[in-house]
């Protein structure tokens, strides 16, 4: 070993960065520490919250210092999502509050879209503008033509508003751009989804298999913690990834697979388990449907067959299958989270589900547990009007198994087409930077240019706000109440978020914005509560607690209703599938006209001189949401392009060299990216962390830092089963000098 050594100080800045950062912070501290007054805001030195930096929603405490200014955020020990330990993003959440680049007051567009001409407006003016725009669309085209995109807590209020308004078109990019295929695959196999937080019993597993999933770089808090617990207890980890991820470095087996061939490996594993008779026979016999068909289906999918496709040696495929079998049923073939890769993702996740099923891990300790959650009563309101049409009608006969609306679908349904008599005309975008989140930026911008109304609610001037007609500045989660957090876990729990400080500047909580808008739209009966305190107290009392108690404890744990975290010995289980069994052979897929069992199909390979663009997460950031956060840019302020040394040599690239990237469609990255030459990436791929390369100058700390992968993802492979947008089929080459992008026709 040791012929190449890569020494990197991940955090801990150079001197130049230090001097500037320090000065900026001092200025910030003087300008923006306003002592919160009491009115409604607690003067306690610690107030409960749950984190809004990612979807994991860890519950914790916001501490104030002696001057009653927000000081630090730490986890609540009672909280099952965090066990009292926040991840770096959550710990750095204070930076979101102190970020001097925050949106400060409502803005109304003055010039054309995409140019930054705004005027400041009062809330009344801005909301009038929005309400008028929405009414006009409803009168002329129908209220379904207004759609909501959301990510995070604001969705509760805007969702209520949009449904009351008469539109069913509510989408979160977290479905079609992220975990949708996994949910559909597990639903069709087990009759239940994986959900969030994932029901993986990593804590007690003996073998954890990660397919491209980079726990430890993605800081899905509970998963990271439990993986560490499992390592402590001697669990083995098998990582399948073309990149030597952090998780790979903790693994007993690292399978450096050729990208896009995972399904072949999964099928070969299924083959080995069945033909070596290493599968869980009792479990399969008792709970599953279609084993004989599956056995026949994978007959020729031998490790030797998979070797030719995946480059993983047959003996390694056998050894890893044995490793899983030895651990069974305490084994998890992890379903991953961001799984929209190649367009056949639902089928790949079906193979993952099948593998778990024959290993007997679903419903077993160390496999997948049965979560429970508290159902929070909703405040009484009139029934929602029946919408006349939905986004589905824009795609007749397509994506039959999509369980939720597709953000990409709503985007496409905004671009007028001869085949449709009506398009979406208005978007309300809350807390999601669609420019970076949806694949194919040009397509998104095209859709935006066809809108009559674009309203963006955000805390930061993200790129999407630059395209808005009206920008509504939301206060951060540290300055507001929000709906009760409830989510599936080993035990049901609820958590409270309350303001630790008054909203800074002229910002408002989403709950206030939606309620005020409801008044202007004549929909106030859907927001019948007078204040969030009143609403929350009403809900808490129905759950046997109160706002006052929750302010003191932050998190409340309930006993499970059923004592069935795992399947009981000899328990008869009725699965919510057509056959009432775990469907190895999916009747649902078959009925919808898809392969009832997954098949491997080869995907396109990089052209000569191009490399597959792989993207992922860095532990200190959540997409673009955290990109400008002063505490977190301190840890990581730009992304780098990982290049294998062989490739670097061929191109004459050294560490730190700035290059531009050009993709297969001629699109060139807007900003250069620095090269990181490392053995940790395969020679046929390059890697970068997602969420950088911001081009809105109002984001002073992150403007122009690194490159945006979203910018280069112009080719999208749509999953025909549920409409997921596969984004890993893009290839890039290197440019020493920038070149103008040639925007070719959309290439789907």
């Amino acid at each position: 070993m040791a012929n190449r050594r890569d020494f990197i100080k991940i955090s801990g800045l150079g001197l130049a960065g230090m001097a500037m950062g320090g000065a900026a912070y001092k200025a910030l501290a003087n300008t923006f520490y306003n002592t919160p007054e009491t009115d409604g805001i607690s003067n306690l030195n610690r107030t409960p919250t749950y984190c809004e930096i990612c979807f994991w929603k860890c519950a914790g405490w916001v501490y104030k210092n002696d001057e009653k200014k927000i000081w630090k955020i730490v986890g609540n020990e009672e909280d099952l999502n965090s066990n009292g330990r926040f991840c770096p993003r959550g710990t750095g959440g204070v930076g979101m509050y102190y970020d001097e680049d925050r949106l400060k007051t409502p803005l109304i567009r003055k010039g054309e879209r995409g140019k930054q001409y705004f005027r400041e407006a009062t809330w009344d003016e801005a909301l009038d503008y929005v309400a008028k725009g929405m009414k006009k669309i409803a009168d002329e085209h129908g209220s379904e033509c207004v759609a909501l995109f959301n990510h995070g807590s604001g969705g509760d209020y805007f969702g209520n508003l949009i449904k009351a308004f008469g539109s069913p078109n509510i989408a979160a990019p977290s479905y079609a751009q992220c975990r949708g295929p996994r949910e559909v695959a597990f639903l069709s196999t087990f009759g239940e989804g994986v959900e969030s937080p994932e029901r993986t019993d990593i804590r007690d597993t003996k073998c954890l298999v990660l397919i491209g999933s980079h726990i430890g770089e993605n800081m899905h808090n509970g998963q990271v913690q439990e993986m560490s617990d499992a390592i402590d207890k001697g669990a083995s980890i098998i990582t399948v990834d073309p990149r030597f991820s952090t998780a790979a470095s903790k693994s007993k087996f690292w399978l450096p697979i050729k990208p896009s061939t995972d399904l072949a490996l999964l099928l070969a594993w299924i083959h080995v388990l069945i033909y070596e008779e290493w599968y869980d026979k009792d479990y399969v016999e008792k709970y599953t449907f279609g084993f004989d068909q599956l056995k026949e289906h994978v007959k020729n999918m031998t490790p030797e067959w998979a070797y030719g496709i995946t480059t993983i040696k047959p003996d390694v495929i056998r050894a890893t299958a044995k490793e899983m079998a030895n651990a069974s049923p305490a084994v998890i073939v992890h379903p991953g989270r961001h799984v929209t890769w190649y367009g056949d993702d639902t089928q790949r996740l079906r193979a993952v589900a099948i593998l778990n099923a024959i290993l007997g891990s679903w419903g077993r300790r160390g496999g997948f547990y049965r979560p429970e959650k508290v159902s929070v009563p909703s405040y009484p309101h009139p029934p929602y009007p029946e919408p006349k049409r939905t986004w589905r009608e824009a795609f007749p006969g397509q994506f039959p198994l999509a369980g939720l609306a597709l953000a990409s679908g709503i985007c496409d349904a905004t671009i007028p087409s001869l085949s449709r008599d009506c398009s979406i005309r208005g978007w309300i975008v809350d807390g999601t930077n669609l420019i970076e989140t949806l694949p194919n930026q040009q397509n998104t911008i095209n859709a935006i240019q066809n809108l009559d109304l674009l309203v963006v609610v955000d805390t930061m001037p993200m790129e999407i706000t630059g395209w808005a007609d009206v920008v509504l500045p939301e206060c951060t989660y540290l300055e507001r109440y929000d709906m009760i957090r409830t989510g599936p876990h080993r035990k049901p729990q609820i958590a409270l978020r309350m303001p630790a400080a008054k909203p800074e500047y002229n910002t408002k909580p989403a709950s206030w914005i939606a309620k005020e808008l409801s008044k202007k739209l004549g929909l106030e009966e859907y927001f019948a509560w007078n204040s969030m305190e009143e609403l929350l107290d009403w809900q808490f009392k129905k759950l046997g607690t109160s706002l006052e108690e929750m302010q003191r404890i932050g998190v409340k744990t309930f006993e499970r209703e059923y004592d069935d975290l795992y399947f009981g010995e000899d328990e008869e289980v009725e699965f919510v599938t057509n056959t009432g069994k775990i469907e190895l052979y999916s009747t649902e897929m078959e009925d919808a006209g898809f392969d009832p069992m997954p098949k491997y199909t080869p995907h396109e390979e990089p052209p000569e001189g191009f490399y597959r663009l792989i993207y992922g997460r860095g532990p200190a950031h959540t997409f673009s949401r955290t990109a400008n956060n002063p505490n977190l840019t301190d840890i990581m302020d730009e992304n780098k392009l990982w290049v294998n040394p062989k490739v670097a040599k061929e191109w004459g690239l050294q560490n730190g060299k700035e290059i531009w990237l050009k993709n297969q469609d001629g699109v060139v990255s807007q900003f250069p990216i620095k090269v990181r030459v490392t053995e940790r990436i395969r020679w046929d791929s390059v890697y970068m962390v997602h969420g950088f390369g911001h081009d809105d100058k109002r984001l002073k700390r992150c403007y122009g830092k690194g490159a945006s992968d979203a910018n280069l993802i112009t080719r999208v492979h749509i999953d025909p089963i549920m409409g997921g947008t596969g984004m890993r089929g893009n290839f890039v080459t290197f440019l020493y000098e920038p070149e103008p992008s040639i925007i070719k026709e959309k290439s789907i």
Binding site: M1, A2, R4, R5, D6, F7, I8, K9, I10, S11, G12, L13, M18, M20, G21, G22, Y25, K26, L28, W71, K72, I73, V74, G75, G84, R85, F86, P88, T91, G92, G216, M219, N221, V224, Q225, S228, D229, I231, F244, T246, A248, S249, K250, W254, P256, P619, A620, P630, N631, L632, D634, I635, M636, N644, T678, E679, R680, I681, R682, W683
Partner: protein, 177 residues
């Protein structure tokens, strides 16, 4: 009493949460840090190995920084913790130059600052902020003279190393390997 810390390189994922938590807990200005994370990779694809370490002041028993401080600002406190008295420090930087671990920095207010092992928390019976936040629970803190402390127990159980042992500083920051 001899305070010490051990970091498990087999569990640390290099997330830098320890760095952010230290910054907020100790009001370390943005752009500076008392702890940092290092990643060392060896090998050629696909035969690779990585060691990840969260590093900070080693609270050396034989500490060059205390020895060379002209004003006595750098000193030993309870349990061998090396501290800097801010108002005694003249910011000359002799200690920064003498530290083999590069653990000290000059605060924008002019004095030298570094890890205190969170003595203010330890005195209240709490763990240091970095130890308390670490999502992988890979850090162990306590008194080496107390065989029941977390750090004593883990050092008994696991193989470990220290950094730059040849400097003869007798460091109190251990890395489990």
């Amino acid at each position: 009493m001899r305070y010490a810390m051990a970091v498990d390189t087999k569990k640390c994922v290099g997330c830098s949460d320890c760095v952010v938590a230290c910054q907020t807990e100790n009001n370390v200005p943005i752009g500076y840090c008392r702890d940092w994370v290092v990643e060392v990779m060896d090998g050629t694809y696909p035969q690779l190995e990585i060691e990840i370490r969260s590093e900070r002041c080693n609270h050396c028993a034989n500490s060059p920084c205390v020895r060379c401080c002209p004003t006595g600002a750098s000193h030993f406190s309870d349990g061998g913790i090396v501290l800097v008295t801010h108002n005694k420090c003249i910011g000359c930087g002799a200690c920064i130059a003498s530290c083999p671990y590069d653990a000290r920095y000059t605060h924008p207010d002019g004095y030298v600052d570094k890890c205190t092992f969170c003595i203010h928390r330890v005195k209240k019976g709490q763990q240091p902020a970095c130890v308390a936040v670490c999502p992988t629970k890979c850090m162990y803190f306590g008194d080496l003279d107390d065989p029941k402390s977390d750090v004593s127990k883990i050092l008994k159980k696991r193989k470990f190393k220290t950094l730059i042992p040849e400097a003869g500083t007798d460091p109190k920051l251990y890395f489990l390997i």
